[in-house]
């Protein structure tokens, strides 16, 4: 099967530090793919390159088999890739609907729209549809995002990414700050996004969680991909061994 997104031989050096050396990575259609690795393995650098926030020194990116270059996050967004960072980047004083449509607001039809008037009712309705589709439950649509719980804020940020990314949503440690129940909700959300046909890349430290939610797991160590597993063929021990020693046992295709 043709990968949706493929990174081949990516290198990135910061001064004396080689963050990525000849790293490969790929995302298949409609899958949840976990990217794991120890601290300093190059996960963040790779994510930045995939989302257009950083440029590689070498290697190439392909989308649907065709080479592509991202010079800014907007390029990646245009290619259908959206990233949810740990800091979420929501406007805390705006409502969930306003955040969902920020930068892509819907205006009134006709003259009013030409004058810049917003169609808030329509944005609220579409936001509600999006939240319902993804199973996100918020206590109120009109309250500022700031008033929501951490898990709800995370859900709003992910729902927003899923709304505008046709191909891939990248989640950087999406459950790091969440409690058990909220974590479960966010993982459900990732599954729903996959079931809607958008692939999800999840960066995580939590091995059991990765095994629980991911379809496929790729392991980075010291700047290169050292292993690639199907989630149902490995256990936590295998993942830890791959992360720390680079040995993968048998390498899955």
């Amino acid at each position: 099967m043709q990968p949706l997104l493929e990174a081949r031989g990516i290198s990135r050096t910061f001064g004396h530090v080689q963050a990525l050396k000849n790293a490969d990575f790929n995302v298949m259609p409609s899958e949840i793919c976990a990217l794991i690795g120890d601290n300093g393995a190059g996960k963040s650098t790779l994510v930045k390159i995939l989302s257009g926030a950083d440029l590689p020194d070498g290697g190439e990116l392909l989308i649907d088999g065709r080479p592509i270059a991202f010079h800014s996050p907007l390029d990646a967004q245009a290619a259908g890739i959206a990233t949810v960072y740990q800091d979420l980047a929501l406007a805390p004083d705006l409502t969930p609907a306003e955040n969902l449509f920020l930068g892509r607001e819907i205006k009134m039809p006709g003259l009013l729209g030409a004058a810049g008037f917003l169609n808030r009712r329509r944005m609220r309705r579409l936001a509600q549809e999006q939240f319902e589709k993804l199973g996100v439950r918020l206590k109120s649509a009109r309250v500022a995002v700031d008033a929501l719980s951490g898990g709800q804020r995370q859900s709003v940020a992910i729902a927003r990414a899923a709304m505008w990314a046709e191909r891939i949503v990248i989640l950087d440690e999406p459950t790091a700050a969440l409690g058990v129940v909220q974590t479960q909700r966010v993982l459900d959300l990732a599954r729903r996004i996959r079931d809607e046909g958008t692939s999800v890349v999840m960066i995580s430290h939590n091995m059991p969680q990765v095994l629980d939610v991911a379809d496929r797991i790729q392991v980075l160590r010291l700047g290169e991909r050292v292993a690639e597993f199907g989630a149902d063929e490995v256990g936590v021990d295998d993942l830890v061994r791959a992360m720390t020693s680079g040995e993968s046992g048998e390498k899955a295709a």
Binding site: P92, R104, E105, K107, G116, R124, R137, S149, Q152, V181
Partner: protein, 347 residues
Amino acid sequence: MSEQATNLVYHDRASLEERLLNLLATGWIFLLLLVLVAVFYALRPEQFGSAYNIQQLAINAAIFMVLAVGQTYVIITAGIDLSVGSVLVFASVVSAKVMLFLSGEPGTTFGTTEAGWGIVAVGVLTALAAGAAWGALNGALVAYARIPALIVTLGTMGMALGFAQIITGGVDVRAMPERMVTHIGSGELLGIPVLVLIATATVIVAGIMLHLTRFGLHVYAVGSNEEAGRRSGIRVHRRLVAVYTLCGMTAGLAAVMANARFGTTTIGGHVMANLTTISAVVLGGTSLFGGKGSVFGTVVGVFIPIILLNGFVILGIPPFWQTVAMGAVLIAAVWVDQLKRRLRKRS
């Protein structure tokens, strides 16, 4: 955050509790205004409630109101504009000089000139353009040079006033077109002072733009989380320049109103304009941290010091008490804002 609340079904309307909380948080200053009006009216109904007094209150508020509306936009972006008073002075001086020059009368003219409406129109446009130019400079320095707004506008505050004094040699321009003074400064339309009409129109247009348009939403977004705005594709720098330019333009409009009202420029008269507008905006519930605020709140915030002063004068309380009371109210307003934020975080 209890899990129970998370399980509530997503609904489109604010709950009663939220509404009450909001009303209490943003409404108390409006309530204070109503209480002040009620108390002063109860104590001195004839004087305080007279048509003349109400009209004077509105006229006193008008210039201040226009300035505060511009300041509201700036503060919602988490900025501040200390230069509004100086920009007002600069715009009024330049506008007055241009009108005097066009009327062909000597530069030493006192009193009024015979300039026609065409010249007045040029004067108005000059004032607006002069204000907008200072605002654009403020905005560009804040957005592109990344200098804190406090410092940028502190700098342009000195520069604008300095240039106004250089242009005039420090002496007020005392010749205004008579038409402008009689028809705008002390004129009425349908029994309402023209100055009040201008201020009302400004408030309405600014309120609609802030609360109903895409530009307005972006103003909130930039103040709430600039980085989020940038990642969403909002041209944050351009929005900032536009907001400061708008604020400069309101200072230009206020300059026209001041010229028309007093029949002279007032170089020494607006030293405190920045602080009074900022305190009015903050009183009105606009957060100094950005992202939150309303034009209606600012209207309330503008009237509180004016009503206080008026009431004290009518009651025979030394007017100096007004500044004391205002200081206390301002601190209380910011305290309530902090409480509100904490409350919201916890809810």
